[in-house]
Symmetry: C2
Subunit: 197 residues, 2 copies
DNA sequence: ACCAGAGTTGACCAACCAGTCAAGATTCTT
DNA sequence: AAGAATCTTGACTGGTTGGTCAACTCTGGT
């Protein structure tokens, strides 16, 4: 039927909710704040989503596929260092272009991952283990310097997401200019030196 | 006068508050939860601290000195790579031994650093700029490989705090054994290869 | 043993919270 | 133009929250 208004309002709500949830965490966010940000009334929010929980759930569901994709895109047939470098750059670009999503995820993990433990313990874990095996094979073939594959993956997550999650801190320490200026060059150097066999 | 009961209860409250604030953020934490965790009544909490805000403030004040100290301890007269490596190991040990403090800090930054902007923009910023100049001088003398000093410091923060802040994720991905197993070896390798001139 | 001050708490309050509902406004279809 | 379906919201509810207060108990010094 009339899906134009529905689509527009759902998008307004999810966009506002991403602002509020990523800035305050689940418990710290309020429906009033989301409604105000979306320019809708609170009962109207609950006309489109069953509950506060359901809005949050919808945001996470949107996010999770996006989160897996770059890691999945590492090509076993590619050149090892180049593949890992491309993964790092992909994650860094995501931190720059989708900082709210990164902070939503970080808030969730920081608070014990209550709503993500299923996803992490099943899909993400399986994918990480698979990619770790691939990297271990590359190391065994002498095509990468010897590194612990799991820690290598964690390091890429830590270094790239840091620019989104700790953006407030970086801006206060380097008030002039773009907080991410030089980040890609620095990380490229770092992983070039780490991975060269 | 009688400071024994006061000291004991203040410590109980701050310890419980650290649990609750680090797990839920400021807005997500409740005085009831802190009181329950501390084994005291809610009015009793407010006998020792003026408000929820005051408890949080007290935790942050305790934390901030501890946060600066390792960075301050980098010795301009020392051997460059060894000094930076020692700093990294110091931060990693703090992430292992004081994960709640790390998460309290992370929650605060993630939510825009509303209560830390003064500290970051003044004391932390001045110290970071000073240490960045020191590292830049070491690079200029050819005693370190050329790296952006600011990004080097950020990378140490990101990589070490990640093990505390994203502990829940790491545990779910590697359920067997200590989440920090191998972390020190990995980071030592990483910074050895990055910094060798 | 006494009491002044320190420590403690049940009962309470006003503000805020997620969520409901019935009634009204708008839009779509014919 | 009109009826049906969709969309919107003011007013409300029951529960939670930070914080208050008067009354109570406990402790240490004499």
């Amino acid at each position: 039927m009339n899906t134009r208004i529905q689509r527009r309002n759902r998008r307004l709500i999810l966009d506002a909710a991403l602002d509020v949830f990523s800035a305050h965490g689940f418990r710290g966010a309020t429906l009033d704040a989301i409604a105000r940000q979306a320019g809708l009334s609170k009962p109207n929010l609950l006309y489109y989503f069953d509950s506060k929980e359901a809005i949050h759930r919808a945001l996470l569901d949107d996010l999770l596929e996006t989160w897996l994709e770059p890691l999945r895109a590492i090509d076993p047939a590619g050149e090892p260092a180049a593949e890992i470098m491309a993964y790092m750059r992909h994650k860094l670009r995501m931190a720059r272009d989708y900082p709210r999503e990164s902070r939503l995820f970080a808030n969730e993990i920081l608070q014990g991952a209550p709503r993500l433990s299923d996803f992490i313990a099943s899909e993400l874990r399986a994918l990480v283990e698979d990619r770790a095996r691939l990297i271990a094979a590359w190391v065994a073939q002498g095509r990468l310097a010897p590194v612990d594959p799991m820690h290598l993956i964690f390091s890429i997550w830590a270094l790239t997401q840091h620019y989104a999650d700790f953006d407030a801190q970086i801006r206060l320490i380097r008030p002039q200019g773009d907080p991410m200026q030089g980040a890609e060059a620095f990380l490229t150097t770092l992983y070039n030196r780490l991975l060269a066999p």
